[in-house]
């Protein structure tokens, strides 16, 4: 496994102000924040798919894109060509890799998508396609997983499954970074980064970051009385 992923003065003006971070393998880091906060800008910058000021290093070295180094999963669920789910997952092995059917089958199984393997991706529901695309990100067993809203579009059961799957990826030594809006499931992360207005405003364990003041100020919500979920925070 590769070393830590470090961001030095990483910025994507005007969406993201300069941020310094060190993320560690074997941990699951959640990126939370309101719409337009800069979560995707941060993840894209960390994944090396956007250009701008600052540097990203893995194990102290500049990132060389490779399927086993880092997988980037964008929030888009688009599929241009009507290929099968299995063929799409196989693309995650990289352009120069030989087809590894066992790895494809394992990735699809991990995402509860084995039954979708032979179906054309344009015939799948958005949630089904989201699971297939996640399998694509996992198939090469990358050292770092950078995932933009991997649980959006999923039903409640599959949301929990995916969070458990990502925790298992962290347990095998991968570094997992995911943006998400579900604050209850965010609490399952090892560490949370709270982004608001393009700034990193809080960084720490979920119990610390998800405090009442942050929730009210940045999300405009508070926990409901008697464990009744969430409600709008009073001004």
């Amino acid at each position: 496994m590769a070393g830590s992923l470090e961001a030095h003065a990483l910025a994507r003006p005007p969406m993201l102000a300069a941020v310094n971070l060190a993320l560690h393998p074997g941990t699951m880091t959640g990126v939370i924040g309101p719409n337009g906060a800069g979560k995707t800008s941060l993840l894209r910058a960390l994944a090396g798919v956007s250009r701008g000021p600052g540097r990203v290093l893995i194990g102290g070295q500049p990132v060389q894109p490779h399927p086993r180094t880092l997988a980037w999963l964008p929030a888009s669920r688009d599929a241009v060509w009507p290929m099968t789910a299995a063929a799409l997952v196989a693309l995650g092995l990289g352009p120069s890799a030989l087809l590894d059917n066992a790895a494809v089958a394992a990735a699809l199984a991990a995402c509860d998508a084995s039954q979708l393997a032979g179906r054309s991706v344009d015939q799948l529901s958005t949630g089904e396609r989201a699971r297939v695309l996640l399998a694509r990100a996992l198939v090469a067993q990358p050292a770092w997983l950078l995932l933009d809203e991997p649980i959006a579009n999923l039903d409640p059961g599959h949301r929990i499954d995916v969070m458990l799957l990502l925790a298992a990826q962290a347990a095998r030594g991968a570094g997992v970074v995911l943006a998400l809006h579900d604050l209850d499931l965010a609490a399952r992360c090892d560490r949370l980064l709270l982004i608001a207005g393009g700034q990193l405003v809080a960084d720490g364990p979920p119990a610390e970051v998800l405090n009442a003041a942050h929730l009210a100020r940045h999300f405009g919500v508070q926990r409901g009385g008697g464990g009744q979920g969430w409600e709008r925070a009073a001004d």
């Binding site: 894109p65 688009d78 241009v80 099968t84 120069s96």
Partner: protein
């Protein structure tokens, strides 16, 4: 599938070599030298050019659709085709360049179209590259199309105008060995570039960002594909004029057989394009000569309704 298509190409190539206004075998009995000359100077260039240009059109179309992630793309969209036509028109009719001059003009036009395209699309940048490439291609194509119309209206004589219009319709009639020898290496190089780009183009299915994270060097891939398309298109237009619809339709015919992987479709698209153009060129030779149907007109006449049928079927 590739083997079957290759066999079909071979059969059609032999048929194309055998078909003509005179019986070469009969001539060979009495005048072997004349038969040989007719074969080498007329039959071979026509069949060889149909094979090569068809392969270039098919592969160019498949690569354009893969690069732009757009099933409606074709080399025409990218601009070099109309640039090549303009270059050939200028060189051939206004500079009196002859066969070689037209070929050079065509390649210069394809290259010029390409250079404008790359400059407009900011080929060095990765983000948003393909959308900008499509928009720039449409603009460049339109500009060259208008310039060809201007060239037509400025034709030095009515005969030149007549020649020019017929040449633009696309044909392989009366092509010669030097034209085959000129086009062959250029199209072969273009095909090699496009075939090498296949795996990268497959990865591009997932979007530019994901392809980059998988290790695909996008600016280099884009350059390789656009140069490959310019070579096959420029060389093809230089000797045969505009041959429409093969580049657009053929990739749709073969893609289902390769699991819709756009990069893997390039080789079968080349073979199917070659087979289609050989068959179309044989067909127009079997039609009554006084119909004077041009190859480019024929492929579009067949291709457009067929494409509409494909769309109706759900593409």
């Amino acid at each position: 599938m590739n083997l079957r298509l290759a066999l079909l190409c071979t059969a059609l190539l032999l048929a194309s070599l055998a078909i003509g206004p005179v019986d070469l075998l009969a001539i060979a009995q009495t005048d072997p030298a004349l038969a040989r000359t007719l074969f080498v100077e007329l039959r071979l260039p026509r069949a060889g050019l149909a094979l090569l240009i068809g392969a270039g059109l098919g592969a160019g179309g498949a690569a354009a659709q893969a690069l732009l992630r757009n099933p409606l793309a074709s080399p025409d969209v990218l601009g070099p085709a109309s640039g090549a036509a303009l270059g050939a028109v200028i060189a051939g009719y206004f500079l009196g360049g002859g066969v070689l001059g037209m070929a050079m003009g065509s390649l210069a036009g394809a290259g010029g179209g390409l250079a404008i395209l790359l400059a407009l699309a900011g080929a060095g940048s990765r983000a948003g590259g393909t959308t900008r490439l499509v928009l720039a291609g449409v603009a460049v194509s339109t500009l060259f199309g208008v310039a060809i119309n201007l060239a037509l209206s400025l034709a030095p004589s009515p005969f030149a105008l007549y020649d020019l219009m017929f040449w633009l319709m696309g044909s392989l009639a009366d092509r010669t060995l030097p034209q085959l020898l000129l086009a062959a290496p250029l199209i072969a190089l273009g095909l090699a570039l496009l075939l090498r780009a296949g795996p990268g183009l497959d990865a591009l299915t997932l979007g530019e960002d994901v392809a980059h994270s998988l290790g695909v060097a996008l600016p280099a891939l884009r350059r390789q594909v656009v140069i490959g398309i310019a070579l096959v298109t420029g060389a093809g237009v230089a000797v045969a004029g505009n041959i429409g619809f093969v580049g657009l339709v053929v990739p749709h015919l073969v893609r289902p057989f390769v699991g819709h992987r756009p990069g893997r479709a390039i080789l079968p698209a080349a073979l199917a394009g070659a087979a289609l153009l050989l068959a179309a060129d044989i067909a127009i030779r079997l039609l009554p000569a006084d119909l004077n149907l041009k190859l480019g007109v024929f492929t579009a006449l067949i291709g457009a309704p067929f494409f509409l049928w494909l769309i109706r079927k759900g593409l």
